[in-house]
């Protein structure tokens, strides 16, 4: 199995280096000739100088169905065509692409590309989550469809002393664990929160703000 990195500059170099150190077989395609020469001196990978949005260049990389390709160019339209050539012409199953315009995540999904990553969306999501409350930890899973958020219960939280089932937490959220005095409690509907508890909540991103507000009283 090969990993093909199409386009991109620093991200390609660093990603290639990381993947190679983990033992992967990496192929880099880049249209900038001097950059290709630089890469070929620094990393042990097959470097192809050419425009990855052209089928003949992709064919030179001898991509097979089980290979992984990442479209990393700075242009959304180029990443779209690279992805479509791989999916529709070369039948590659694992196609990942970056997009600049966060709205293109949905557009690309509608056009049949499943794995679309928007750096903008990822970063702004992280910032929003950090600044919006006393959240101490956040993890997303299933490509962002689910979140685990962790927060520490402070003295003034309105949820203190109320049974979890009576808090009115929105559908799509559940308190999954409470850490109290170093002990992990898996709570049930009758459990109550106490100051100093660390709470782990599993929820959908759409109800995250509401959930945090009910527990902490703050946005």
């Amino acid at each position: 199995m090969k990993i093909i990195l199409a386009g991109g500059r620093r991200i390609t170099y660093n990603l290639a280096k990381m993947l190679i150190s983990k033992g992967s077989n990496v192929v880099v395609i880049n249209k900038d000739k001097p950059y290709c020469e630089e890469l070929s001196r620094e990393i042990k990978a097959l470097i192809i100088n050419g425009d990855a949005s052209k089928i003949e260049i992709l064919q030179r990389a001898e991509i097979f169905e089980n290979d992984i390709i990442l479209a990393l160019t700075p242009q959304d339209e180029d990443n779209l065509i690279i992805s479509q050539l791989c999916i529709k012409v070369l039948n590659v199953k694992n196609v990942y692409t970056l997009v600049n315009d966060p709205e293109n995540v949905e557009v690309f999904n509608l056009l049949g590309i499943e794995n679309v990553i928007s750096m903008t969306e990822m970063l702004s999501g992280l910032i929003e989550q950090r600044v919006s409350s006393k959240l101490t930890n956040i993890m997303s899973f299933e490509k962002g469809k689910g979140l685990v958020i962790q927060l520490t219960v402070e003295e003034d939280f309105p949820a203190i002393g109320i049974a979890l089932k009576d808090l009115g937490l929105p559908k799509g959220s559940i308190v999954g664990a409470i850490t109290r005095d170093e002990e992990l409690i898996v709570p049930h509907g009758e459990s109550v929160l106490k100051p100093g508890d660390r709470v782990a909540i599993m929820c959908k991103p759409s109800v995250q703000t509401e959930t945090v507000k009910i527990i902490s009283g703050k946005d």
């Binding site: 949005s53 052209k54 089928i55 003949e56 242009q75 959304d76 339209e77 180029d78 779209l80 065509i81 479509q84 050539l85 529709k88 012409v89 315009d101 709205e103 293109n104 557009v107 509608l110 056009l111 049949g112």
Partner: protein, 144 residues
């Protein structure tokens, strides 16, 4: 099919081809909206043009929405970048179900991708080749 007298047509890319076609279609009574990322491009538009122009990057869905792509009878992808033309075409065809999409493409290599999504293509190189072959035949027939 009865001929619809007034079509709503979006032209993406207001270069020489886009601006010329925009003028022609306006003149025929169609409603035309032109989208280009450079405002200066609209200077190409002729007096005949009576439609709207929108400054925007067509690879950002926002500018296509501004042009009311959901209402369009026809989308013409006429920028000088084949990949942008493909993106505009696929978005029109598959996200907004635009009935008619025509793209101009310089490099015929990726023409298969356009055909798969039922987009009609104009390839200047092939048009020139066809014209040349025809002219060459005429000349050689005259000589014979």
């Amino acid at each position: 099919m009865a001929k619809k007298s007034n079509l709503y047509i979006i032209i993406v890319g207001c270069g020489r081809l886009g601006s010329k076609i925009a003028g022609n279609l306006s003149n025929k009574g169609h409603s035309v909206v032109v989208v280009d990322k450079h405002e200066a491009s609209f200077e190409h538009l002729s007096q005949e043009f009576t439609g709207f122009s929108i400054v925007g990057n067509a690879t950002e869905i926002e500018s296509l929405k501004k042009a009311k792509i959901d209402k369009a009878d026809m989308v013409l992808a006429f920028t000088n970048n084949d990949n942008i033309n493909y993106m505009v075409s696929q978005v029109a065809k598959e996200v907004y179900q635009t009935p008619h999409v025509i793209a101009r493409i310089y490099n015929p290599d990726n023409v298969e991708l356009f055909k798969q999504i039922n987009v009609k293509v104009i390839i200047p190189m092939i048009l020139a080749e066809t014209f040349f072959n025809k002219t060459f035949e005429e000349i050689t027939e005259e000589e014979a």
